[in-house]
Amino acid sequence: MNLVVAKTETGRALSDIFDVARDRLPGGGKVADARQQAFEIYERAGLPHRRIEDWKYTDLRVLMREVLPPAPAPDAAAVKRAGSALKPHAIAGARRLVLVDGVFAAQLSDTDDFEQGLSVRTLREVLEAGDAALQAQLLSPDSSDPMVALNSAMMTDGLVIEVADGVVLTKPLHIVHIATAAQPLAMFTRSLLKLGKTAGATLVESYIGADGVKAYQVHDSLLLTVGDGARLDHVRLIEDSREAFNICAAVVTLGAHAHFNTFGMTSGGNVSRYQAVIAVAGEHSRVETSGVNLLNGRQHADTTLFLDHAVPNGTSHEIFRAVVDDRGHSVFQGRIIVRPKAQKTDARMMTRALLLSDDAEADNKPELEIFADDVACGHGATTGALDESLLFYLRARGLSEKEAQALLIQAFVGEAIEQIASDDLRGLAISAAERWLAARS
C-alpha cells in the first residue's frame, strides 16, 4: 500500500514564501515563535477541504487551489488608485481607516482629532512594540482552523483600536480594505477592536477592489471585545472584485450586559467565507446578527456562525437571507451551543434562501446543541423561488421582469437589513444591495 503524504504542491511553494517573508513580518521573539508554530499547523493541514466538517461546503482546495504570495507594500501609484476606488464607498461623518493591499495607508485615513479615550494603532506597531498583554490577545485566535493558522503566521498589518471605559464614540469607524495589485497577490491582515466597560462604537468594514485588480486574496481576521455594559454596532460589506477571494475569521467576546449588533452582506467577490465565533461570556448580554448573500454568476459565499452561550440570561437572534442567481452558491452554517450553566438563554435563528435560477444553490446547516433545560431556542429555514403571482401583479403595473424581481428581492433581504439598529447603517446596506441589483439589470 502506498502512503501518500498529505502535502500539496501549494504547501511546498508557500513554505518558501513564508521563509522569505518571515524576516520582514512585524514582531520578534514570542510573536515570531507564534508565527512559526502557526505556520507549521497550516503546513500540516494545508487548505481546508470538504472532508473537514466546518468546511464541508467550501472546499478551498477546489475553489482557491493555492495561497498566493503576499502583495508588496503599496507604492504612491497604488495609494492613488485606492483613493479613487474609495470614493463611492465613503461614509459621511465616519473616521476612515484604510488598508491598501493589506497595509495601513495613513494618507487615505483620518488620523487626527482623535476623541478622548480612542486609541488607534497599526498591527505592525503593536506587534513590534506593543505591550505583551495586547500582543498575547492578538495571537490568541484558535489556530486549529488552518486558515486562522495561516493568518496568524502571515499577518502583516491591520488596526488595533481601543476605546476606553465609558467612552461612546460619536463618529463611526470605517475600515476599508482595498486591493490594487495588477497581479494576483494575497493580503494578510488582522484587526482588533476593544471596547471598555460601558463604551460604545460603530464599526463598518468595506472590502473593495480598485479598477483592474486581478484575482487577489484577502486573508483577514477580526477580534472584537465588547466590555461589560458596552455596545458595538458592526456592519461588513463585501464588495470585492468578481475574481477575488475573501477568507475572514472573527472572534467576538461579550462581557455582561453587553450588546452586539452585527450585519454582513456579501455581494461581491468570487469566493468568500466569513466565519465568526461569538462568545456570550457575561450574563444579560444580547447579540443580534443578520446577514445577506447576493450572488450570481459563479459566486460562492459561505457564512459560518458559531454562537456560544456560556452563561445564563443571554439573548441571540440570527436572521440570514440568501438571494442566488445563475450558478451561484450560498452557504449558511449556524451553530448555537447553550452550555449547561446558560439557563434562560433565548437563542433564535431563521434563514431563508431565494433561488432565482435552476442552477442556483443554497446550503443551510443549522445546529443547535442545548445542554441547559430552561431555555427558549429555535431555528427555521426555508428555500424557495420568487412568487409568480406577485411578479405578475408588479409587471401588470408596468415593472419590467428585472424591476419586479428587484423590488421583491429588496423586500426579501429587507427582513435581515431591518435588524440593523440605525437608519444610517441600514442605508449603507440598502445602497450595497442596490449596487448589486443595478449591476444585474
Binding site: R395, A396, G398, E401, L408, A411
Partner: protein
C-alpha cells in the same frame, strides 16, 4: 378606431378550454359592463388581456389601439395603457405601498420616455389622489395590501388606476367587499376618469354598481362566450330574470 378588439378568442387552462370564441369591441369613450354567472370566464378574459402567464391562447386575437396585444409582455401592456383592477389583489409583504406606487408610476413613465417623478412631486400627486378616494396615508405606509381588508384592497386598486391614468380600465368585481359609502367613493373615482380617450370594462354581478357607473353597453357572458349585448336596461332585465335564459344559448 376601436380601443379594444377581442376577436373569436379561444383560451385554455391546463388543457381545458375556458373561452370558446369570445368577441368584444370597446371604443374609446365608452363604458362596457360584463355580467355573467360564476365561472363563465369573466376573470379569465381580464387576465388574458392583462397578460397573466398560464393561459394558452389557441385561437383568435386581441388588438389594443390596433396593435397585437398578445405579442406584448404584461409590463408593455401596462405601459401602453392597459390596467386591470384585480378581483383578488395579492399581498406583497416588505414593499410599502408608497414605494410600490412610485416605482410603478416611474417605471411606466420611463418606458414611455417621460420624465420620472421626483419624490416630492410624486407625494403631492399621491396625496391628492388618495384624498379624493378617502384613503388614509397610514394605509399607504404599510406593505402592499398586507393586512388590508377586502374593501381596502379594492380601494387600493382604484387608487392605482387614478394614479396611472390608463386608457383601458378593466375593473373585475371592484364592488365586491366595498361597503355602500366606499362603493360610492370608488365609483366617483372611476367616473372622474371617464373621458373621450378612455374606455372602461366593468365586470360585476350587481346592478347597483351600474347605477353609479352607468354603462353604454352591457354584455352577458356565459360558458366562455358573450351571449347577449344591449344597453343599460339589459342589466335591469338580468336582475329580474337571472341567467337561466342564457344557459341554453351558450
Amino acid at each position: 378606431m376601436s380601443l379594444l378588439e377581442v376577436k373569436d378568442l379561444q383560451v385554455r387552462v391546463d388543457e381545458r378550454e375556458i373561452l370558446h370564441g369570445l368577441s368584444l369591441t370597446v371604443n374609446a369613450g365608452e363604458v362596457h359592463a360584463i355580467m355573467g354567472p360564476n365561472g363563465s370566464g369573466k376573470s379569465t378574459l381580464s387576465h388574458v388581456i392583462a397578460g397573466k402567464p398560464g393561459y394558452e391562447v389557441t385561437g383568435g386575437e386581441i388588438l389594443f389601439k390596433g396593435e397585437d396585444l398578445l405579442e406584448m409582455s404584461p409590463d408593455e401592456r401596462a405601459v401602453k395603457g392597459v390596467f386591470l383592477a384585480f378581483q383578488y389583489p395579492v399581498e406583497i409583504p416588505g414593499v410599502t405601498t408608497i414605494n410600490f406606487l412610485r416605482t410603478a408610476l416611474n417605471a411606466q413613465r420611463k418606458a414611455r420616455g417621460e420624465a420620472e417623478f421626483l419624490v416630492p412631486d410624486f407625494l403631492k400627486k399621491m396625496r391628492s389622489v388618495a384624498g379624493s378616494l378617502n384613503i388614509p396615508m397610514d394605509m399607504l405606509k404599510r406593505g402592499v395590501n398586507v393586512g388590508f381588508s377586502g374593501g381596502e384592497k379594492k380601494r387600493n386598486e382604484i387608487l392605482q388606476m387614478a394614479l396611472f391614468e390608463p386608457s383601458l380600465c378593466i375593473l373585475d368585481e371592484m364592488d365586491s367587499g366595498l361597503d355602500i359609502d366606499a362603493l360610492r367613493v370608488a365609483a366617483d373615482g372611476v367616473n372622474a376618469l371617464r373621458s373621450p380617450e378612455r374606455a372602461m370594462v366593468v365586470i360585476t354581478h350587481y346592478q347597483r354598481l351600474l347605477n353609479y357607473i352607468v354603462p353604454d353597453v352591457v354584455h352577458v357572458m356565459s360558458k366562455g362566450r358573450v351571449v347577449k349585448s344591449g344597453g343599460k336596461e339589459l342589466a335591469l332585465e338580468l336582475e329580474a330574470s337571472g341567467y337561466a335564459q342564457f344557459e341554453d344559448a351558450a
